[in-house]
Symmetry: C2
């Protein structure tokens, strides 16, 4: 065989090998991505002032930017998720942290969860009233205890022991949410005494340069909620899930449907057991939600940087940044 033939053969073998070898799940820093939501529900352009619309777009962009900066500098997806959600928790625009809605008793009871797709470690808090950033408490539960879920006063004691910033009820009091409680109470006086309203749960999924996926969710739950109701947000598998083998998911909507059908986990189960991609799994899960009569949506991001943001309501506060650093933010259905 002539040398030139050998060279051509080697080239052919190399070419074939490059085609046959699986692509790495993550292609380095360019593959980083972050996706966020600020709740799904009745979100229409014609029922929102231009100022309010601008405020939502601005805050979502700021939150995405906080997480993206961490990813761009080589930080972890967990750090990015926590930083992004903290921005949204600190804003009165969303139903989480500062902007949490009021319960029937005029309190703010918050839930949050976070999950690490590399280890399947997870942490969550539910029914906490005095923790300034519940998402950070969820992360402390994940890293500082052997537990997954802590609730109520016990969770607050844990958070305090771990140096988290506490806040009094005055911090969580906002005029808008208070007025919302009075309105919902009046509307419901002649109806069932169940909780209602209060969309605006926030969530985030991120993919870092090491190919690790993380997801988190934070909420104030339902306006006028009774009886210590806890929704899907602090429930791993219902409102939040992350698994490097498949994807990360954060949900928003009427939590009970997400809890009964484990919709966050179901996206990953369909990918693993059916072998379908993120888009098909997401479509099927939204279909399940709709078939059950549930309203809401979710964000999902897989290890290759694919993003899905499906919802069956009129709008969902949402957005993402990919490796190019350009933020994309959306509020309504047709945009």
């Amino acid at each position: 065989m002539k040398p030139s033939s050998t060279g051509r053969l080697a080239l052919l073998v190399a070419l074939l090998a490059s085609m046959l070898l699986p692509m790495p799940a993550c292609g380095g820093r360019d593959n980083i991505a972050i996706v966020v939501h600020g709740g799904a529900g009745e979100i229409r352009k014609d029922s929102m002032t231009p100022e309010r619309e601008a405020a939502y777009r601005e805050k979502l962009t700021e939150a995405l930017g906080a997480g993206y900066k961490i990813l761009k500098e080589g930080g972890s997806s967990l750090d990015a998720v926590e930083a992004t959600i903290r921005v949204l928790e600190d804003s009165p625009l969303f139903n989480a942290g500062k902007g949490a809605v009021f319960t029937n008793l005029g309190r703010n009871e918050m839930d949050a969860s976070i999950m690490d797709g590399e280890t399947l470690d997870a942490g969550a808090v539910a029914s906490v009233t005095r923790i300034k950033n519940p998402i950070s408490a969820a992360r402390a539960v994940m890293t500082g205890s052997r537990h997954v879920l802590l609730v109520g006063a016990g969770a607050e004691t844990f958070a305090k022991e771990h140096g988290l910033e506490m806040a009094d009820s005055a911090y969580f009091w906002t005029q808008e949410r208070w007025d919302e409680l009075q309105r919902v109470k009046q509307e419901q006086e002649s109806r069932s005494k169940q909780g209602a309203g209060g969309h605006g749960t926030v969530g985030c999924v991120a993919l870092d340069k090491n190919g690790n996926v993380a997801a988190g969710t934070s909420t104030g739950g339902l306006t006028n909620k009774l009886w210590g109701r806890v929704g899907d947000s602090p429930v791993i598998g219902a409102g939040t899930y992350a698994d490097n083998r498949t994807c990360g998911v954060s949900c928003t909507g009427v939590g009970e449907y997400f809890m009964r059908a484990l919709l966050a986990y179901d996206v990953t189960a369909r990918m693993r057991y059916f072998g379908v991609g993120l888009e098909e799994a997401s479509d099927k899960v939204l279909e399940t939600l709709t078939t059950m009569g549930g309203e809401g949506g979710f964000i999902a991001l897989d290890g290759k940087g694919n993003i899905e943001m499906p919802f069956n309501t009129s709008g969902m506060y949402r957005g993402f940044i990919r490796g190019d650093g350009v933020p994309h933010v959306f509020l309504f259905r047709d945009e």
Copy 2:
């Protein structure tokens, strides 16, 4: 064509049709079944008195009998699950209801959940301290509210409003569990201040004459638990799941593993998406638990009456009754 030919053809068509038509999931009353567990853990013949062993066998048989009677008389699987678990909650032998373990603060904080495989409706309570039968409170949440999970004092208010029997702390105080708390506290003084011990969670899955599957779980959690820790028992998909299309599941063990991998739901997801049977799905889920480093087990029952009771500990209190009415009860691995 001669009449006799037509007759043969009709017979052939009928025969083929009967072979091609799917079998009903449930073949009538003979197909009823009920399966129960009373916790997995260090359960060995050589570390148990004959009297204690007999007491466990007797109580498990009594509990199975209570549920079986309902199924035999044509009652629903939900009624059977609730009745069976109430028997175990009323016994001091198991870590649920009357026999619930003590938290670090010397309280009894209980969790329970129930799910209807026909409708995917579910209800749960967590961190309740004054409800005599938490499984009945979980059922009241399912049927009497639009919610899935209620926690703490709110859940107790709800239970009271729905006419459930309340109990004071003296009712839940048992010498054995109190001594266990003191022992665990002493053992842990020089170690991590995390909760430990307290196996004995109870659970039940039933299949009624209409082919409906239901599942429920009830627990006192971990001895010496801190910070309002909530385990898998009240989490739909983690400790309990039921879906007529696949099966019902109730779990016991170190709850955090069940929560992170949604092991109850995962049995059903593997059956639906992989198309495997109950046995293979159960084997894989136990393998997941073991691979993660978790300890425990679960019971599972499908719509055809197949039963699985896998565990990776030395023993699991468990048993079942099928349509023949004969109770089968086991405690140790090799029996």
